[in-house]
């Protein structure tokens, strides 16, 4: 039975269990008469039966399906002839891959030899047995547990409380997914990064001035061995983020000030959503725009002024990224500026300050911590932004602060290292995870600081 079929049958069984539980509770109630009375509404008895019917069987099937492939592979390998089993680990995994491919009907890496075909047949047999065993077990479990609950239905059974406990457990599990995601991110990035740091020392990665991750794939190939000094990559990221902030902070802040302090209601109602469209445009669109329109524009205007600007300049990527971040800065600053109490403004006006003086000397200082927090969040966004830089910033890791030159960033390197053909034990691919670790840590620090600053500031006027 296929997994899908099993799932559908389990669902159908649960529905039947609901109905049975409902009916049984009604009969029980009738038999007990008015004096007895059920503890819960009949629907809860149905639900309880259905939950007991479905959940244990689903859990068992889930666990079975995740471990099944490993166990079967192990059994198949144990049955292979001695000379294949004694192959080195990587060759053996190739053989296993061939067997799996043969089972699923994919293309083989070479000619299928009889040993492999026998192994594949064995694999197929084991898989079929495992499927059948799982189906029988799951269905028996579903029906058995449903029967036990059905028999236990009595007026005193606290069905509602039990159902609610189950639901509450599900709710708790759902809310912990965020924690598991974080753990997953940390583990997956850290594991590969540690393997990378075993091959390349951390100090070389963090302080080396040369980034050239191209490695020969086979040992006998001619080619550079690759150097992994990430300083040029970090510097490129910092340069582009700095350009982005130079664009985004003044424009975002000034528009927030204008919208919250000067603009009339109607202008604000029209301009604010329009500016927020900027935040909703997918970054790949910005990337296309930066590479195809802004970069040539900047290059030509540079040529007009007699400057040599490369076609993939840090400037183009940075400016477009800055524009992408404007609504982010402006809406965060808007929030904090609005949170400054009116009494401060009134006080400033009362001693004769003009509006701009009030803003510059009273409101901005009062809102500063919140604005700084917002800017930090924006910086972390700029550091992690990928598509714009992938499409417009370039690949060569230049150790330069010249915005007219092409630079590369952490995210660009992750993408170029991991897209395309790759093998998973080369330092080249693991370097991407090391960069990912740095990226994660850097943005995490910025976010934690920013959230802390924003939250702390918000409590001041409450």
């Amino acid at each position: 039975m296929s997994t899908k079929g099993l799932f559908i049958i389990l669902l159908a069984l649960s529905a039947a269990a609901y109905w049975l539980g409902l009916r049984r509770s009604q009969t029980v109630a009738r038999r007990a008469g008015a004096a007895g009375g059920l503890h819960s509404r009949p629907a809860y008895y149905g639900l309880l039966t259905a939950l007991w019917c479905g959940i244990p069987a689903l859990i068992v099937s889930g666990v079975w399906l995740t471990v099944q492939s490993g166990i079967i592979t192990h059994l198949v390998v144990a049955h292979l002839p001695e000379e294949i089993r004694s192959l080195p680990a990587d060759r053996l995994s190739l053989v296993v891959n061939d067997i799996r491919n043969l089972v699923s009907g994919n293309i083989l890496s070479g000619q299928a030899d009889p040993v492999i075909e026998a192994a594949a047949a064995h694999y197929r047999d084991l898989k079929a047995t495992s499927r059948a065993a799982l189906s029988v077990l799951a269905l028996l479990l579903a029906m058995g547990s449903a029967l036990i609950v059905l028999r236990a239905i009595s007026p005193r059974l606290r069905a509602r409380n039990q159902v609610e406990n189950v639901i509450k457990t599900i709710l708790i599990l759902c809310s912990t997914i965020a924690v598991f995601t974080t753990i997953g991110i940390v583990l997956s990035v850290l594991y590969e990064a540690i393997r990378f740091f075993k091959a390349i020392p951390v100090t070389e990665f963090l302080f080396g001035l040369e980034w050239s991750p191209q490695m020969a794939i086979r040992a006998d190939q001619v080619g550079s061995s690759g150097t992994f000094g990430a300083v040029p990559v970090f510097l490129g990221t910092a340069l582009i983020s700095a350009i982005a902030m130079v664009v985004a902070v003044p424009i975002g802040l000034m528009s927030a000030i204008y919208l919250s302090e000067y603009a009339g209601k109607r202008f604000r109602a029209a301009a604010k959503p329009l500016m927020e469209i900027l935040a909703g445009i997918p970054t790949v669109v910005y990337g296309f725009f930066a590479a195809l329109m802004v970069a040539p524009l900047i290059r030509e205007s540079g040529a007009f002024l007699g400057l040599a600007i490369s076609s993939e300049s840090a400037l183009a990527a940075g400016v477009v990224m800055g524009i992408m971040i404007i609504p982010f800065v402006s809406s965060l600053s808007d929030d904090v500026i609005n949170a400054v109490p009116q009494s401060l403004r009134d006080g400033a006006y009362a001693i004769g300050a003009t509006r701009s003086e009030t803003i510059r000397q009273v409101i901005l200082p009062a809102a500063l911590p919140g604005i700084v927090g917002g800017i930090l969040l924006a910086v972390s966004r700029a550091i992690g932004e990928t598509m714009i830089v992938v499409m417009a910033a370039g690949l060569s890791a230049n150790l330069t602060l010249n915005p007219f030159k092409t630079v590369t960033t952490v995210t660009v390197q992750i993408v170029t290292l991991l897209v395309g053909d790759q093998e998973f034990d080369s330092p080249k691919t693991m370097a991407a995870f090391a960069l990912g670790l740095i990226l994660f840590l850097a943005t995490l620090c910025l976010n934690v600081i920013a959230l802390h600053v924003v939250r702390r500031y918000r409590e001041q006027y409450e």
């Binding site: 995601t181 991110i185 003009t354 598509m387 993408v415 991991l418 943005t443």
Partner: protein, 423 residues
């Protein structure tokens, strides 16, 4: 009166003038900032639309095709030679073209997919065999670009893609009324292709649909459940604090890091298929969960406590209060949050690059585990293609993507307006 003879009032007035000037300057900066952002937005839309609207039309060439039963035999696809039908039709149109190189140039006027079109025609109606019929066939993208951009004609031969002879032939075809521009149906119905004139977005739209379907099916229930627990049931302790900090942080983790997670966990650890919507959906689920949870909590928070107290007062359990009273009232807010989260997920590219959705895929995906690509990744792929014809295709795909996004956001706004309730 001070020593310099200037009256205090003059000094004050002078200062006032300066201060008012500063005031006006400041105000101008504010307007300039807003105008700059809006002008950029306008410029972006303008340039994309002006570059992309031509992609919705396509140049086609009419040829009299003789369906030669010797060349194509409907029974046996292996020996069918549909391109030969196209070459034969061209030969009959221009009998004077004899040399090999000229014949190749002539054949280059038509899309290399013209043969497939004839094949489809024959499959639909086998009676065509042996007849000669005028058929409109798609032109090559160079020809397409030539007609869409008339200034190409004046360029020197080295600066354009078509040779002088080819332009001469095209002119003759145009004189005969054998060239026209028609609605580009291919763009909306076919998958990716290396040939710009044959490339379409339907494969990417399907891929996006399946990916978003997985994302919605997983992230909405999980997000709502998590929001309910955190807002209604969670005790205030270290554990729930940790969960909350985590959710806030995840909302700000760079999307590409989620791609790394998907690559390491879903592909390498669980062995799920590469390039599949199911993996894309899982990654996007983890990404959109924080958005949905935060929106869901805000929606739950806005339901007044009196509703809760009334439900508890008539003897409902806490669970009944939440599911029968609070949740239905908070649902519209949660839905708007979910739509906005979906819109973000629809535009996301970087994490999907990590799990292999950048593969060149021609087939239209039929299910959750078929290899596929999504709209933004299709845009990324086309933006990298060197052929001129892909620039307009990229812009047109961007227009389609933006249309989806704008309608999703509009739906969210309408929902919010419709269900907004002041307590």
């Amino acid at each position: 009166m001070n020593l310099n003879g200037a009256r205090t009032i003059d000094i004050v007035n002078q200062g006032l003038r300066r201060r008012y000037r500063a005031e006006r300057r400041f105000r101008f900066y504010g307007i300039a900032a807003i105008v700059f952002s809006l002008a950029f937005l306008f410029f972006l839309f303008l340039s994309i639309i002006s570059k992309g609207y031509t992609a919705f039309r396509q140049t086609v060439i009419q040829l009299d095709v003789f369906f030669d039963p010797n060349l194509v035999d409907t029974g046996n696809p292996a020996t069918d030679n549909y391109p030969a039908l196209v070459r034969g039709a061209l030969q009959r149109q221009f009998p004077e073209v004899q040399s090999r190189s000229e014949r190749r140039q002539l054949a280059a006027l038509l899309s290399s997919g013209a043969g497939f079109l004839l094949r489809d025609l024959v499959r639909e109606d086998p009676d065509l065999m042996g007849q000669t019929l005028p058929v409109w066939l798609p032109a090559d993208d160079d020809v397409d670009m030539f007609f869409k951009n008339p200034s190409n004609r004046d360029a020197p031969q080295s600066g354009r893609r078509l040779g002088d002879r080819q332009i001469e032939w095209l002119d003759r075809l145009a004189e005969d009324g054998r060239i026209r521009s028609q609605f580009n149906k291919t763009f909306f119905t076919s998958g990716d292709s290396r040939e710009p004139e044959l490339a379409g977005i339907w494969g990417a739209v399907c891929g996006s649909f399946f990916t978003l379907l997985v994302t919605l099916m997983l992230s909405f229930p999980i997000g709502v459940a998590a929001a309910i627990y955190l807002e209604e049931f969670a005790p205030k302790n270290r554990w729930t604090d940790l969960i909350e900090v985590n959710i806030n942080n995840l909302a700000a983790v760079p999307s590409i890091v989620f791609g790394l997670l998907g690559l390491a966990v879903f592909l390498n650890f669980f062995g799920l298929p590469r390039s599949a919507p199911i993996v894309g959906g899982l990654v996007l689920t983890l990404m959109t969960l924080p958005t949905i949870i935060i929106a869901g909590r805000a929606a739950l928070k806005s339901v007044p406590p009196s509703i809760r107290e009334a439900a508890l007062g008539i003897g409902a359990s806490k669970m009944q209060m939440v599911f029968h009273h609070v949740l239905p009232l908070a649902m519209p807010g949660m839905l708007t949050g979910a739509i906005i989260g979906m819109a973000q997920a629809l535009g996301e590219t970087a994490p999907l690059l990590m799990i292999g959705m950048v593969a060149f895929i021609v087939d239209i995906p039929q299910g959750l585990s078929d290899p596929s690509t999504v709209l933004p990744v299709q845009i990324y792929l086309w933006a990298d293609s060197p052929e001129r014809g892909f620039v307009e295709k990229t812009s047109a795909a961007i227009m389609v993507l933006l249309a989806f996004l704008i309608s999703m956001n509009a739906l969210a706004v309408v929902l919010r307006k419709k269900f907004e309730r002041r307590w």
